[in-house]
């Protein structure tokens, strides 16, 4: 559990950070909270020669709620998400989901940017961002661009982010008042990834469903969304179940996960419905 040799960089601006990525290409990796990258480095499954630590980049911090839009800096920690009262009022599902990530010590360091950018199917925030229909702002040396969360994930650990880009902000529309919500997650223990998890929002404008760790990418299904928007719970569950493709692992065989996914989703829908007004 000793990482290989690497050079450590600590830029203080996004431009400087992006410049380092341009310069070192795929020999560099950005470091946010480090909860995925550092264990991989200790196992020597990741051997970046240059580590670009983003913690001094002020532009990547802060939560803003303005007009109908919420914008969260990539380096905002899970703890800050939980602790931000305005955010909790505007989008309570964020707090509910963040509280189910790992444990307090991890959440003091783990960031939303790291969680969504890594492309790990086990992470909770990518699924939640499908549900919220978020957009990611990504920054490179030549400027920024935006990518829809629903188009960001290409495979396990493969995303639309280029090697020389940094995911800088997570932006999504503020849900209507009275939107019912639920983030339902089953895990083996505190600190574990989901065996199955579901994010559900039910509002006046429509419903939204996404699921986590039941395929290579977060599970998002237009059919499931449409069905739930029309109040068809059975149809929504069936459509979501058609979209999942869980793998057998220590959390259990695929057969179990498929069944569990349906149970978890039904419970999330039920709870979201009970909270909708």
């Amino acid at each position: 559990m000793i990482p290989g040799v690497f050079e450590y960089h600590r830029p203080s601006t996004l431009t400087e950070a992006a410049g380092l990525l341009t310069r070192f290409g795929d020999e560099a990796r950005v470091l946010a909270g480090g909860h995925s990258l550092i264990p991989m480095m200790k196992l020597r499954m990741a051997n970046p020669e240059h580590l670009v630590d983003l913690q001094d980049v002020g532009e990547l911090k802060g939560i803003s709620i303005s007009g109908g839009e919420i914008s969260i800096g990539a380096m905002v920690t899970q703890h800050e998400l939980i602790d931000d009262k305005a955010l909790a009022t505007a989008v309570p599902i964020i707090r509910e989901a963040a509280l189910q990530i790992a444990d307090p010590q991890v959440r003091y360091v783990g960031t939303i940017g790291g969680n969504v950018a890594n492309g790990d199917p086990g992470n909770d925030m990518p699924g939640l961002m499908q549900c919220l229909n978020a957009t990611y702002e990504v920054a490179g040396e030549k400027g920024t661009r935006r990518i829809a969360a629903r188009e960001f994930y290409e495979g396990a650990y493969f995303t639309a982010l280029a090697d020389d880009e940094i995911l800088s902000r997570v932006i999504f529309p503020k849900p209507d008042a009275g939107t019912g919500y639920a983030y339902e997650k089953q895990k083996r223990k505190i600190g574990d990834y989901a065996t199955a998890a579901a994010a559900v929002m039910i509002g006046k404008a429509g419903a939204s469903i996404a699921m986590t760790n039941l395929g290579d990418t977060p599970v998002w299904s237009t059919e499931a969304n449409d069905a739930l928007t029309n109040g068809d719970v059975e149809g929504a569950v069936n459509a979501a179940m058609a979209a999942i493709n869980p793998a057998s692992d220590n959390r259990g065989p695929a057969e179990f996960k498929k069944h569990l996914a349906g149970v978890v989703l039904r419970r999330a829908i039920e709870r979201a419905q009970s909270r909708a007004s």
Binding site: M1, I2, G4, V5, R44, D103, Q186, R188, K189, I190, G191, D192, T195, N250, R251, G252, P253, F256, H259, L260, V263, V264
Partner: protein, 806 residues
């Protein structure tokens, strides 16, 4: 308060002796981060070792090329089996009469096996160099199933003993067979089974798991070539045994070896054995003349150091139609992995598995155990239990439940019918043990009343009705266990490890000002010895526990002992402490009599002093006596006040307990919620109730881990699937239920203070109790037996296979 106004009770309270909930003296340093563990040891010029390990479970080692590693600046040496062979150290003896490769000698037998040892100037360079060692392997067929290991055409794992059909524990009948151990009367048991009203039969599997202490294993070896002295610091549960073994295998005279166990962050049996890291560090220090540190990481700890359990226990239990048990038969297939590295007493290759008749008066029984080699990590240690006692307790407590199902009886009532009665102690069991004392019926009735057993069953019946009516998806299970432990190994006449009798020791020195130091042959790994042994002494010699230092773990200063595991410290070293204290007291009596100018027989001990019989106003306190022993010439009495005692216990001790667990089981998700756990322990005389409660909480939590999720799992080609704490279940406070503790007190008749030991009881009793609760929830739907761990998917699968998902 002045001495004159103190009552006898005040004086007794001030001692903080037996029965006092004294705060742990160790915690002052531990809670401030001031402990001193092996990895805290830093010596001048210290080098660091790290292992190249096998990625394969079974393979021929074709070649090892360490040139690139040796060329890396900062690398001092790379050792392979070829380097150790001239010293005769490429293999080492195990504690179980087998031998084990220190570094791969021609082949590897499990994933994670040590192949080469890199020594470098810092820990980082060592890790970099490990990556540079090129090993060419040729894969061989892998055996992970102990039953397939005994197939006629199974590949031979241990080429080193191919066709040597006489093993350390008798004949071997197959190249992958280690031993067969038989106890009891086979013919008589089979006759009982053949004629019984009812016979219940089941395969009970106790899965492979791992003690996984918070601190992993490690050592620092420091060879002083000028004085020819080796100092070995390490995470050793038995420092003196390590010294003797180190001397025997290295050829260094035993007086030139000093073994020090500093603070140890949990052992649970994992730190009893000898590991290749220790041997390689010693060799590396001898070769380089510098201190060498080796500390394993978590993955190395889980994949290569001693595992526990992995017993396949086929059972048959015979009873009358009224539920009186008439016979018990058990055949166990024991998966030991690549080398038999158990840490059992020599004459007990399956430990004390023959305690498997449990708390019940079973007149006829037979046990046989087959030890088998597979391509898994070596071991088979006692993880928070006396040797194989948790396997035995799990077996009998499951078989009782299986029999209750067969008889259609309540499992609490079935136990009641069969308990050994209080008037039967000392009780001779059919498998050869003499139980010292017990009152099982009293403990059981207290437990049943405490949990309102009838009320729980009524609630469960209502829940079942609601479940069937579709009103709930949660079933309720009630887990019962009455366990009997066998601890305190043990009498030298039948207990030894590598020929070392399993006595233990205590040496006491009383200082002139009346404080004291006691040194023992045991070593605390968190049990709180410095707290409790001082309490035993306080009551024995009348010096306050706060004035007594307890020191362990340094073989240059502590008297010889066999260490701490198998709940043996209190039964054996605790007894030695009391006996040494009594020697002190006997001498103190002579001094007091002299000072009081009366005959020795005319003074008597009174809490913290000797008083003249019939004249309690005439006394000498222990403090006064201690001072006198150093400054007065007393005719016929040597100066000073010291004693040492080596205690050879006449028998084991037999702690017991009655546990009840209530669980809610969500049949759709497999999630279990332990909503109640009651633990009544009888560990004989209670030394420190607070430490007992802490031990019970800890042991129950490890039992929860084992029963509900913890396992060492392998795939079919021998890859370890649970090598990190992501997959190896360690419960946090969140997963840990509330425990309600209780007790009865049945002293051991043969122990000087009547104490029996408690640290391991909750693990022994806890595992079957959690497991029985899960089983019980599904009993109405026809479940008789399912394997642990009862994690979400396995519980879900039980519900699924019983048709509960529609």
């Amino acid at each position: 308060m002045t001495e004159a106004t103190q009552t006898r009770e005040d004086r007794a309270t001030a001692l903080k002796g037996l029965g006092t909930a004294r705060k742990r003296v160790e915690d002052v340093r531990f809670t401030q981060g001031k402990g001193n563990y092996v990895d805290d040891i830093k010596l001048d010029g210290m080098l660091f070792g790290d292992f190249v390990r096998s990625p394969y479970a079974h393979a021929k080692v074709v070649s090892i090329n360490a040139d690139a590693a040796r060329a890396l600046p900062g690398v001092v040496a790379v050792l392979t089996a070829a380097d150790l062979e001239p010293l005769g150290l490429h293999w080492m003896p195990t504690l179980a009469g087998d031998k084990q490769m220190v570094l791969a000698d021609g082949k590897v037998l499990f994933q994670g096996q040590e192949v080469a040892f890199v020594i470098a100037e810092d820990r980082y360079i060592a890790a970099d160099a490990v990556e540079l060692v090129e090993v060419e392997y040729e894969e061989l067929p892998v055996i992970v199933d102990p039953f397939k290991a005994l197939d006629a055409d199974a590949p031979v794992l241990r080429e080193d003993i191919r066709d040597q059909m006489e093993g350390a524990h008798g004949p071997r009948r197959h190249n992958n067979h280690i031993f067969t151990w038989e106890q009891g009367d086979k013919a008589a048991t089979e006759a009982v089974l053949a004629g019984a009203d009812v016979v219940a039969e089941e395969m009970i599997y106790y899965h492979r798991t791992h003690p996984c202490p918070l601190e992993t294993c490690g050592c620092v070896a420091s060879m002083d070539k000028v004085n020819d002295k080796l100092t070995l610091y390490g995470t050793f549960q038995a420092p003196h045994a390590v010294r003797t073994v180190a001397s025997l295998i290295s050829g260094i005279a035993e007086h030139n070896i000093r073994v020090i166990s500093p603070d140890i962050g949990g052992g649970f049996g994992n730190k009893v054995g000898v590991y290749p890291g220790y041997i390689c560090s010693v060799v590396a220090s001898i070769v380089t003349g510098k201190p060498v540190k080796w500390v394993e990481d978590r993955i190395e700890n889980l994949t290569s150091t001693a595992f526990a359990r992995d017993y396949w226990m086929k059972g048959k239990i015979a009873a009358t139609k009224d539920g009186k048990i008439t016979g018990l038969w058990c055949h166990t297939t024991a998966d030991h992995g690549a080398f038999d590295a158990c840490a059992d007493p020599t004459k007990f290759p399956a430990g004390f598995m023959n305690i498997c008749t449990g708390s019940y008066d079973i007149p006829t029984a037979y046990l046989s155990v087959d030890g088998v080699y597979t391509n898994k990590a070596p071991g088979g240690v006692a993880y928070r239990c006396s040797f194989r006692v948790t396997e035995a307790a799990y077996f009998i407590e499951r078989m009782i439940e299986v029999l209750a199902i067969k008889l259609g009886m309540d499992a609490a009532e079935l136990r009641r019918i069969n308990f050994i009665r209080a008037d039967q102690f000392p009780y001779q069991s059919a498998l050869g043990w003499e139980y010292d004392s017990g009152n099982y019926h009293a403990a059981w009735e207290k437990a049943m009343k405490a949990v309102d057993y009838e009320g729980l069953r009524a609630e469960q019946a209502k829940r079942l009705e609601d479940f069937k009516a579709g009103k709930t998806r949660k079933l309720m299970g009630i887990g019962l266990t009455h366990f009997t432990e066998i601890v305190g190994a043990g009498p030298v006449k039948n207990c030894d490890i590598l020929g070392l009798g399993m006595f233990d020791s205590c040496e006491i020195r009383i200082h002139p000002t009346g404080s004291a130091i006691a040194r023992l042959g045991t070593i605390s790994q968190g049990q709180g010895h410095a707290t409790t042994f001082a309490q035993i002494l306080a009551s024995e010699i009348g010096i306050p526990a706060d004035d007594i230092t307890v020191e362990e773990g340094d073989t240059d200063t502590a008297p010889y002992g066999l260490g701490t595991y198998g709940s043996r410290s209190t039964p054996v070293a605790g007894a030695a402490t009391a006996m040494a204290g009594r020697k002190i007291r006997a001498k103190a009596q002579m001094i007091a009599a002299y000072l009081l100018e009366v005959h020795d027989d005319d003074v008597e001990f009174d809490v913290d002093r000797f008083v003249v019989k019939g004249a309690p106003e005439r006394f000498k306190t222990m403090k006064e006596i201690a001072f006198a022993s150093y400054n007065q010439a007393i005719p016929g009495v040597e100066p000073g006040l010291e004693a040492v005692s080596y205690y050879d216990p006449p028998n084991m001790t037999y702690p017991f307990g009655a546990y009840v667990c209530v669980v809610d089981v969500d049949v759709d998700t497999g999630v279990t919620d332990i909503r109640q756990f009651y633990a009544l322990d009888d560990c004989g005389t209670r030394i420190n109730p607070m430490i007992i409660e802490g031990q019970v909480h800890g042991g129950l939590t490890e039992a929860l881990a084992i029963a509900m999720g913890q396992e060492m799992a392998y795939d079919e080609i021998g890859n370890v699937k649970t090598a990190t704490l992501m997959d190896f279940f360690w419960p946090s406070a969140w997963e840990t239920p509330n425990y309600r503790t209780d007790w009865t007190t049945t002293p051991s008749p043969h122990h000087p203070i009547g104490a029996k030991g408690v640290g391991e009881s909750p693990n022994v009793g806890g595992v079957p109790c959690f497991s029985n609760a899960v089983h019980d929830a599904f009993r109405p739907f026809g479940l008789t037996q399912t394997n642990m761990p009862h994690d979400h998917w396995r519980v879900w699968k039980v519900a699924h296979d019983l048709g509960l998902h529609g």
